[in-house]
Amino acid sequence: MRTLSARSVLLGLAAPLGALLFAVLVCALILIVSGHSPVTAVDSLLTSASRPRTTVNSINSAIGYYLAAVAVAIGFRMKLFNIGVDGQYRLAAMLSAALAGAAFMESLPSFLRVTMTVVAAMLVGAVWAGIAALLKVTRGVSEVITTIMLNAIATNLVAYLLNPDRLAEAVPGSNNISTRPITEGGQVPGIAIPGSTSALFGLVFLAVAVGVGYWFLFGRTRLGFEIKATGLSESAAVASGVSVKKMVLLSMLLSGAVAGLIGLPQLLGSSHSYALDFPPGLGFIGIAVALLGRNHPIGMAFAALLWGFLDNSSTSLDIAGVPREIVLIMQGVIVLSVVVAYELVRRYRVRAEQRDVGRALAIQKSPEEVSV
């Protein structure tokens, strides 16, 4: 087994490393062809990497991306494609922002307020994902279709609720519109980082806890095992006494609950209200990050950091005269090539393992072998 592990480390390195290298080469080529200098691009990326503010912003972005990736990965483990993470977190962020900002909350102790906000967000996310799960188990409707539709419904629902007549209030003198600002007791203070004007989101610990919980669920619990087994082979799971419907329901609820958390670090750490410009689209970034990180709790963390860093250094590229779009190209190429690379490595690994088993058995048997 030692040799197998050593090789799997190398193999595992090969896929992401190869994909990244390939993406870097493609981007360099595009820059050269379009008359820009890849050297300038790398230089400005390094400049932004060494700026504490960009680092903090990158980590803060990564926190949201990571939560999104975990939400997506819970579905992926069961071969469920929860595209609705985006709608789930936006609705959850909006409703929990309204709750956290509500006047009656101000009399409550800070810890209770934040806890209630977090729980509310998880509930909203779970309920929204639960609709898709219910439709799947009762009517057999593909969760891909329903979650896409629920995203659109969430958008319109949020737009309807984000209105001065309902859960929002107009920001005086601004064209923005937002929920009632969350007062200090409902916020989660950031962690000041020397040299940076941005503080690290306090809810970074929430993301870490979710990551640990995710690892524990799939590495140590019966529920996680059953979800994983269902994802690997539904028929085998059924034969083993796993209720597939129950697994669909539970994994979607879990995925939705984690999705509900995605907006909270930003909401409680920086925005302090849900406004028109609350960042959308994190759910889709989560899909890319989960793919890149191979649904692995640590892999996704690195993928989220990479994504966050790329997103936050695009302004530096812009200033250096390198089109910021190169970041999007890079991200796209990484996702595409990593999917291909993982599949190639997977096939190679299966073959290698079968060969190893064959060889190990051949050695075991060899004494009785007589040349013919």
Binding site: V9, P16, V171, P279, G299, F302
Partner: protein, 351 residues
């Protein structure tokens, strides 16, 4: 074995870092470095941060770009343009403004109300730089000018045009995205139509709901919405929908109806040359004027902080007459303009 995967990925990323670093090692000279130093007060270096869409959106951002271009060619100032990305956080917007300030820009313009929070944080740390924000009365600071527009007043006037020109007594308003800003267009327009034709029907349709901002840049949606309105009897369409307006004009052209441009004098936009015949007037929002004025003011040492409303009275918003399609009613429209400027007519800006 699964435990290994994360480690593997980590190592992969680490190795990438090394790769990047080794590429970079031969790039030390040339970079303009981190030392920004205090800008010489006499030189003006302009930084402009666009909203999503950036230069080339045929609308709001382009209008700001025109003002910038004019200032650049007239004063020869150095300019840097940066663009926002979809799904940004305030921190990322703030970072953009800070990077402009750090790299020696002393005139910084934030296009769009989304920059409000970012600007409030960034402006405080760079007191010598002069900032401007378009479309937002906040934040209030000694080095921030808030440039806002009375879109509702301009929209009132094109509403008057629509009311006078419509034969069916049925007109349509298409909003790009349902935000308070676009609602100002709607409210003013409707009031203008009703001022000349109290029993007229005003159909209202918003293409998307936030945070889906594609309504500003999806001509197909504009066509669909306009067709619906035209089928329901409208003969004048006012699309306050950025790039989606082109689609609405296509629909109007196909059905022989009229359209009203927005933000720029769209009759004269090269990108809309094939539908210019249907554009009878435009609600011109002179973001370019505001941008140009602001740069000029700072350059001349005339910077003024606080709210500056570009309204009918100041010429910040107006109606266009290019194409000569409303020559017959210009006097009537001018009459209403006078009444608004004099305060005789109060145009509402919220529903």
């Amino acid at each position: 074995m699964r435990r290994m995967r994360g480690v593997r990925l980590a190592a992969g990323l680490f190795a990438l870092g090394i790769g990047l670093a080794s590429c970079a090692s031969d790039t030390q000279p040339g970079g303009d470095g981190g030392t920004s130093g205090a800008p010489a007060p006499s030189t003006v270096k302009v930084g402009l941060a666009y909203d999503i869409g950036g230069r080339g959106d045929q609308s709001f951002n382009d209008s700001a770009a025109r003002g910038l271009d004019k200032a650049k060619s007239e004063f020869g100032v150095e300019v840097t343009e940066l663009e926002a990305a979809q799904g940004e956080t305030d921190a990322q917007k703030e970072d953009r403004l800070r990077q402009l300030a750090e790299s020696g820009h002393n005139v910084i313009i934030a296009v769009g109300f989304a920059y409000e929070k970012a600007l409030s944080a960034a402006a405080a740390d760079y007191p010598e730089a002069k900032f401007a924000i378009i479309d937002s009365a906040a934040p209030e600071a000694a080095n921030v000018a808030n440039l806002t527009f009375a879109e509702h007043e301009g929209s009132f006037l094109v509403g008057v045009v629509a009311g006078l020109k419509s034969k069916t007594g049925n007109v349509g308003f298409i909003g790009g995205v349902n935000t308070p800003l676009i609602q100002k267009f709607e409210v003013g327009f409707e009031q203008g139509v009703k001022a000349v034709k109290p029993d007229a029907t005003v159909q209202v349709k918003y293409l998307t709901q936030p945070p889906d901002f594609t309504g500003f840049n999806d001509p197909a949606k504009g066509t669909t919405a306009a067709n619906g309105m035209l089928d329901a009897g409208a003969d004048v369409i006012y699309p306050a929908a950025g790039g989606s307006g082109a689609g609405a004009f296509e629909a109007a052209k196909a059905k022989g109806a009229m359209g009203i441009g927005v933000d720029s004098d769209q009759y004269n936009l090269p990108a809309l040359a094939n539908v210019k015949d249907v554009i009878i007037t435009s609600m011109v929002k002179n973001v370019d004027v505001a941008v140009y004025d602001f740069i000029k003011a700072v350059k001349d040492g005339q910077f003024k902080s606080g709210l500056q409303v570009y309204d009918l009275a100041s010429g910040g918003v107006s109606f266009a007459t290019s194409g000569g399609k409303i020559d017959d009613i210009v006097p009537q429209v001018e009459e209403y303009k006078e009444k608004i400027v004099s305060g005789e007519i109060q145009v509402k800006d919220t529903k």
